[in-house]
């Protein structure tokens, strides 16, 4: 069992997941750049007006849900490392439940936007809004699948492969912090 002390240099998870995570971070930066380019250089007024229609409260709820979920997943990895698999599984389930909660809030938010006639083709701002939140939701869905795989690993007969558990955590935290940036860019910043 690898030690959790901070002094020894150790790659969390495995190199494969980091290839994915670093690449995905760069891909998301491209989405952000496209958003900023359209919003700041071209349609400044349009974006300012459209941003008013987003609900900062549901954005806040989602942020709080996701960072709580990240805490649970971090605790899950910690508990699994100490060999407390029952506790690790509980933490994982709580984290996953928060992920589902995020989806529910998101669906509610999308529904209220669509109900007031704000669709993807309304204007450039909502194009970016739906694409970015949509891609992020796709990441949440992949992440939930990943968490289920980790849950199966924790509940298995053999000792769990820690690099897999850690990789699941790393993926989930990435989805979490990418949301921080989307929240900040789309919902808060003017």
């Amino acid at each position: 069992m690898p030690s959790s002390s901070g002094t020894s240099r150790r790659l969390p998870g495995d190199a494969d997941i980091w290839v994915f995570v670093v690449g995905d971070m760069l891909i998301f930066s491209a989405y952000f750049a496209a958003y900023l380019f359209t919003g700041r250089m071209g349609s400044r007024e349009l974006f300012l007006r459209s941003e008013q229609h987003l609900s900062q409260t549901s954005g806040l709820c989602n942020t709080l849900i996701l960072l709580t979920s990240s805490l649970f997943i971090a605790l899950c990895v910690h508990a699994a490392r100490l060999g407390n698999l029952r506790l690790a599984s509980r933490f994982l389930e709580l984290g996953g439940a928060c992920g589902v909660g995020f989806l529910l809030v998101k669906v509610f938010e999308w529904h209220s936007k669509l109900a007031s006639g704000l669709t993807i083709s309304t204007n450039a701002f909502f194009m970016h809004y739906y694409v970015m939140t949509g891609v992020h939701v796709a990441h949440i869905l992949i992440g939930l699948t990943f968490l289920m795989v980790v849950r199966r690993e924790l509940g298995g007969a053999q000792a769990p492969r820690m690099e897999l558990v850690e990789a699941g955590g790393i993926y989930w935290h990435m989805v979490d912090f990418l949301w921080f940036m989307i929240f900040s860019l789309l919902y808060l910043m003017r």
Partner: protein, 93 residues
């Protein structure tokens, strides 16, 4: 579970929580009309988001104790985003 109430990971969570609420409060009360003020507020809000990202990366993803190439890569990415946002905000004031 109670043993985790005062765990370092939980403390990070509290900081994240606080930062989120502060940035939300700031963002939703930002009625400054002038473009100059918007730029400062915008970049400041984004910086808070980046700090939150860095906390998650360092502590939850355990990059804190990872080999230096990974630490540098993650920080370079944060800087890249900072540079991107601030230059767009600076260019379009």
């Amino acid at each position: 579970m109670r043993a985790y109430a005062d765990h370092p990971l939980t403390r990070i969570w509290l900081v994240l929580l606080l930062a989120t609420v502060v940035s939300w409060w700031w963002g939703s009360n930002d009625t400054s009309g002038s473009h100059g003020a918007t730029m400062v507020t915008g970049v400041a809000l984004f910086t808070i988001a980046l700090v939150k990202c860095r906390l998650v990366i360092r502590h939850y993803m355990e990059v804190k104790s990872a080999p230096s190439w990974l630490r540098w890569t993650c920080d370079a990415w944060l800087l890249l985003n900072f540079g991107m946002v601030s230059s767009f905000y600076w260019l379009a004031t």
